[in-house]
Amino acid sequence: MAISLLEKYSVDEVFAPFQEVVQVEGEGVSQAVVVPKEKLVTIMEHLAQNFSLDYLSDLTAVDRGEKGFEVVYNLFSISKKFELCVKTLTSQSEAEVPTVIPVWPGADWMEREVYDLMGVTFAGHPNMTRLLLPEEFEGHPLRKTFKLQSRA
Amino acid sequence: MNTNQDILLTIAATLRSFLDPLLGNPDVVDVTMYGVALAAILGIIFGNAVILVWAERKVAGYMQSRPGPNRVGPIGLLQTVADTIKLITKEDIRPKGVDRWVWFLAPVVLFVPTLAAYAVFPFSEGLIAVDLNIGLFYFLAVASTVTIPFLMAGWSSNNKYSLIGGMRSVAQMVSYEIPLVFSLIGVVMLVGSLKMSSIVEAQSGIWFIFLQPVAFLIYVIAATAETNRTPFDLVEGESEIVAGPMTEYSGMKWSLFFLAEYANLFAVSAIATTVFLGGWQPPPMPAVMRDAVAFIPGWIWFAAKTYFMIFLFMWFRWTFPRFRVDQLMSFGWKVLLPLALANILVTGVGIYAYRIAIGG
């Protein structure tokens, strides 16, 4: 059975070098670590190398309205069977976080999908274009501001 | 000569004796009889295609444990008729950007060598349109031009799938023609003649499949490749290049490709029958039984053997997956060709040794 990394190690142990910037949010199944986006890649590298969270299960984003966009990374360790949810926040106006492709190349299409549907750009992504929607599509449908058109 | 004359030959003789007084000039009668032979060959091709379209589906159904066509007519026998009507009535689409004349001519040109090849098939004793001295070589020469229409269709369609298919057809057919020709040389060496009737008559004692088993194997493989059938159907390769040169064809033009495919299938099977399976002669059997089956005309034996070969090709098609293009080429050049050459060498040495042995 896989357990959360935070059940095995304390937050202090895991995030020793970044203690002051990391927050733990939620409880139980909702538990997640929130990191600032400036430190995102460094922390991710740290997690991948030192805690063998080598597998990026999922990458997505949530529109939190006024708070901005939350980019959610679900990590897994294939060898140690840990899981961990990491989040980072970006403001509504900026809507940009650094890419994690250097850590997990498989993030390529997931980031493009988030960009396509949620409108969060990933700085440093080699090909930041729409994935699913046509190039000429306007807007990002998964944003809460994007209203579905009613059927005629 | 058989004492009980073949019924088809009787018909031909009757026709000739009927035409003789009517037309007067014996040369005109000759030309007319060639016309009749041409019509008969066309009849064979079309009739054969009708049977084969149905038979292929039935065989496929049998191999895949399903009934196959069984709605149109008894056991689906009229399926081909229904198909033909569908194909004829279909809209004939000419895509924009095709090279009009070349595109239009390709399916027609494809039919010419196929038709020409039938001229030398010995359907029975004396039942052969033209018994050329170089019959077998004539067949090979004519068959070698089949590549041109595929190339024409592939290029003129202005479609990349078609072009790739045309390229593949050239590579494949040119490569497999060489082992095909070489596999037949062994037999030619044994007979000492290229004449179709001589080749068949030389097998009255023993069929050449027993003297040249390797050559037969090479021939069957190369012939599968020449007719573009699985596992060598790279020219069409529907899961890779959609339909190759035929991608842009529809309706009647497409059905001409189809017709030519079945005509070619019959052609290579007929050559296998002639060269390796004793042609029109009944299988080797004791003299008593031979007399008992003497009433069966030669063309029945010929057809039976040819359809057996066709069944074999269908069996291949519905069993094997397709080769990849590089595997196809290396198989042809690195396996089949050396094998065919070795077969020729062994045959030559064998003939020499046999001559010394019987020469004393």
Partner: protein, 169 residues
């Protein structure tokens, strides 16, 4: 064969050969030229048949129409041109070309007219064409036949090396 049939067949074949040969030179689409070249070869093969040289005719079809013409057409089709209609442009030396062709034609006509052909020496008999060719190639001219085979093998190897590109060691 009947004289009339023979004459009719000859003129049809000659017309095919001539017109397709003209087409090879005149047509602006090089692929059409290449395909007409194949037709020319087939027509020439037909004339061989009329001359009772059926073996030569089959060789003509197999080698020229079945192999050479295909390779030419194949090569031409694979070169990409933006506009196929202008792929076989007339060059500016049409006049010079005409003069050279006329000169060649004149020389050949002169040669043909002044040669005395020994007619009716031997009538072609059954089987003689294949056997005769085989005897010539494998007995009288064995050395040159083998030399040609070797040369072709070397040429083929060379062509493969050029096509694949020599591997840098």
């Amino acid at each position: 064969m009947n004289e009339t049939v023979y004459v009719i067949a000859f003129y049809i074949l000659a017309a095919i050969v001539l017109f397709s040969a003209i087409g090879v030179v005149v047509l602006k689409n090089i692929v059409h030229s290449a395909l007409l070249l194949a037709l020319t070869f087939v027509g020439v093969a037909g004339i061989y048949v009329l001359l009772n040289a059926d073996y030569l005719a089959a060789v003509q079809v197999m080698v020229y129409a079945g192999a050479i013409a295909i390779l030419i057409a194949f090569g031409v089709m694979l070169t990409r041109r933006p506009n196929m209609k202008e792929s076989n442009p007339f060059n500016s030396s049409a006049v010079v070309g005409f003069v050279v062709a006329a000169g060649l034609f004149g020389t050949m006509a002169w040669a043909i007219l002044t040669t005395t052909f020994p007619l009716g020496l031997t009538a072609p008999t059954d089987e003689i064409s294949v056997r005769g060719v085989a005897k010539l190639l494998l007995e009288d001219y064995t050395v040159s036949f083998e030399a040609a085979a070797l040369l072709l093998t070397v040429a083929m190897a060379g062509a493969i090396i050029i096509a694949k590109g020599a591997k840098k060691a």
